[in-house]
Symmetry: D5
Subunit: 154 residues, 10 copies
């Protein structure tokens, strides 16, 4: 029987393998993203375990990073999303949390004012992270772009 | 003696008074912001209690919204920031939290790759929220813009 | 000046006033819902503070339940949603929580299998609660109906 | 002596083995359910570790998925239920949580109104998940069906 | 209009009024229970806010304890159940918690062995608390009695 | 030197070994209890790791269940008690928790009324779980029996 | 009717009244304790709301501290014990917590070694706090004295 | 190169080895303490991982208990203190916690009264646990002895 | 009788009164500190409720800020210390928390290396906050200065 | 293929290896810091996993401490920062936490008074820990030095 009882590696281990291979190959997320025809944010998030990766995408990445077959297989497992996969006290991530604390209620009220009673979707959503040069010190510019979804009256 | 022992109202009560007056006057955050010469996001956040408001700014808002003097005074109190002032399970705010869960580690890694070991400041920071028309349904576009700060080696 | 500094009541107090008036009038949610042309679940959720109520809807309810004007005004305030507004250890609610514990992962996997990588929207969503007669003891049947939203590849 | 001290695998590992075999065989939960003469929701929940599986059911599944004997044995262990077995911040599951936040109190009040002081059982309970076609986007329809249990006066 | 906006008192306040009146009248739970034709445990739990009390029961208690009409009304409000209404670190209650810690898994296993996969209902349930004399020190004997409910296979 | 550095197994592993052997042998807790001259609740709790087991008791159990010597040794280790050893959201255990929520304050007040200021001991304590036949569905009856301990005035 | 609906004050307010009167009168806990014929630790704990106070004890304290009758009545209410009534991060209390962290397991093991499987009762218990002079700096000496209670085998 | 990359065992494992060897040798904490010239409480706490142990002390214990050299080495590692190393719901430890709940505020107030604004040190601290015979049941007597430290005014 | 039952204000309210009076008078913490002959950090902490204030100190502050007598009295109440009195997610305070996260273990190890097994006292402690000019942007310099306390071997 | 799938060790394991080698070599943080041309606080924090270490720095440390190559490689991995990496109840660290509790609000207010609305950066930051001799007992002096960052008005 061909059944293998112990699943060799999961998405978390695949992500570590990708990070290590990327370091060895000296590739950037941008370079991997171009190979996939996707943005660098989607690519990084997907390879770190947060998005579904098709068989074709997995083997493109596998060839580029010379990943073992077991890693290429594991990249095709379902994503593992949830609060447990990011440490919100990690300093970079915490600044995003602090932005939500300081501006969250203002954002909610501005959306209500401009769109009505609804939300910005985090599913029909895309995101970008860019470096913007500035003589007083370069800036990180992050763009969130999600479809407005109105609450349904029934 | 002129001392008043009980502080009449704080920033939270001033924010409620602003929201109510804004509703009665039928003004938008954008309109109030133009009067102050500030952006609508800063204006909403500040009047909701998250930023310092100068005496001049407070009386501009007071005249525009016809606020009582006690509210104009309270707007000049120090801001009350922290995790307690926003409910992260409010549906609009939760989508921002979910974005941090799904993309947080990717953002951290992209900043490390492009800038080095450091953070996007949430202090030397500005933010925008815009409506972008789209035939498949309009979109909420939120831009975060913060100075890159490198860790110091000492 | 006509400005009233203290907001008389909020959504929570308006909900209590509705419950009390409903009890005194001997009306059911179904009867109030018919007056509004909405379902009983939306009506109950909305009047308990979870949905936006238009001026027209508020005055329909106000006339039906003979609510004071201040309550009719308060019903038009923005909803106050979030984890804080329901006690998940209340026995009826806890059974819903237990259903999520026992069947949550199965639901997620069945959606992935049948639809792909995405979610059931809780915004473009409607819900019903019905009594179904059964000789072994009547049954509560709850129907959740939400739009499938696929994750976006970008 | 025939005693084996280390229990080879538990329900969690058996669930992973089922998922992997199901992927390799290209079977759906519906197909497995038909073989068992049970619904797809019960079948998925049971094989993911949430319900008791009889010896006969376990060997039916074992033959269908070509599971190793140790997995077939492990499927017959008692289920491991509780809050720890589902991550409520996983996006699909979180929408169910949000439904409980927004509609939980309304559901409790509608049950009290229509049935009296009691609960919908989560034990004498069944559940369905269906895809409903819709020109504006297909919909996920989930039906919860539990016996009404009145509190006993003693 | 006869509408009273502020609900005079809730179940919690009614419970305090009952406790105080009971103290003044020098009555025991047993005596109140006999008047109601119910057990002392149900009576104490109900008057402390955990069970529905009918109009007739409320006025029986009202006459016995000479409660004000507003209290008699409040006793007829829906019960307020949930984890928030009992402090599990109160020493008497904590011993019950400790019993659950030490014997909980044994109880679950004994029920599985003797009944099958199911639970002891906490809804179709009754309970007793008795003093049993003992020369080495009297004992508290608490009896829990709930219907066995099997999980449904569907 | 006879010293063995790695403790082969602890109480948790010994409990799993007992459960597995009991399943293989087809014995009930009642049967094991009779062999030990103890009640089935004490026996189950003790073998699941919550009570001290003497060398003689351990070898009686060892012979009956044909346990390996390392398990017989491990059963004699000190018990590992505390909140961490039971998952209070496991459905059977949660009903006990819900009983504490609904009846905890009533129990505390009934003990105060009948005994004075003190507690029911959870140490000088015994417990029973019985099946009681009932034409409307058999019932689980659990009896808690603990010594009353008065607070000491000093 | 003589019924008073609003309970004037509870144990918490009575405790504050005692502290204030004690400050005004310049009395120590020792002096109040002597009047009651109890120790200073019991007296302080009882008057701060942690122990039952008899009518006679309450009026002795009332006369000594010239407490209002409503306070004397409130002192006779049941104690309000539990984790909520002490802030364990208050610096004096935290040192006791730290002692439990550093020495808790050692104490448990020493009791098991010297007494057997059981506990030091916190109910049949008394306690003392003394100042001991020391040339290197005076010392706080706290003595805990509780009855040993063995677990019961049944 | 003599470098060993994997640290063989830590303080936690060393503590388990000590407990096991102590059990095999049939020694008490008192006997080990006499060998070290320290008290039994310090000795138990230190060997359980809460205090620094010198090379000389470690080899004394090693000879007495016939510990392997790797354990003797590990005993000399820094202690691992903190809230994580004791389970405060373990029944013996919980009684200490309950004592803090019931008497914590009284202790703080008695220290303030007798010493001034300061604390009992948990560092310049010693502790004893003794058995005191009592015809009504022997008692556990625990003495805490810490230097009084006044807050500094600067 | 001269007894006043309701304590007019506590330390928290006194702190608010001080902040308001300080704002009206336009005084700095430094100026108040000079009047008291104490440092600005101690003065700010003490007047915000964290330290004992003598009768003489309270009336010096009262005269300077023209505080009402009830505030001067309240300043002499015991301090209210503990984790509840500071919001650690307030942005300034959070940076201190982040410093503890990043450097806490390094500080502990450096103290162990340089002093031995012990702590920096937070009681026999003083602290300073200074502005240091810097052409690249002025700096906040905070100095913590606490007595080293070694653990006692007993 | 040269790809190594399992990352040999991470920053946590590298930190343990450094601590062990440092112990064996008898080197202080100061001595290692001098070799790197950095301060002892930065050096300790970096080698304990909190800062980025360059290839050159890693090999300097590797030579000095005779670390295996795999450790030298692991030191060059990204730092792992966040709340999870320090136990705030460890006694040395807890004193820092207590300082934040007692002085946090005073520090925030002093910065607001002296600088304006902003923070002390924890990124553009350095820190020192020194021993200061004192006849009454030597003192630990910790200096925090961070750039002042003003909130941006936009």
């Amino acid at each position: 029987m061909s059944f293998t009882r112990v699943d060799p590696i999961g998405r978390a281990e695949a992500a570590e393998a990708v990070l290590q291979a990327k370091r060895i190959k000296g590739l950037t997320w941008e370079q991997i993203a171009q190979e996939l025809g996707r943005s660098k944010v989607w690519t990084a998030a997907a390879l770190l375990g947060q998005h579904t990766i098709s068989a074709e995408q997995a083997s493109t990445v596998g060839r580029l990073l010379r990943l073992e077959d077991v890693v290429v297989q594991a990249l095709q497992l379902p994503p593992v999303r949830g609060a447990g996969v990011v440490d919100t006290s990690e300093p970079v991530v915490y600044r995003l949390e602090e932005v939500v604390q300081v501006y969250g209620r203002a954002v909610a009220d501005l959306i209500r004012e401009e769109f009505g009673d609804g939300i910005m979707s985090a599913i029909d959503f895309e995101m970008d992270v860019e470096r913007v040069e500035d003589p007083k010190g370069d800036r990180v510019v992050i763009t969130l772009n999600g479809k407005y979804l109105p609450y349904r009256e029934f």
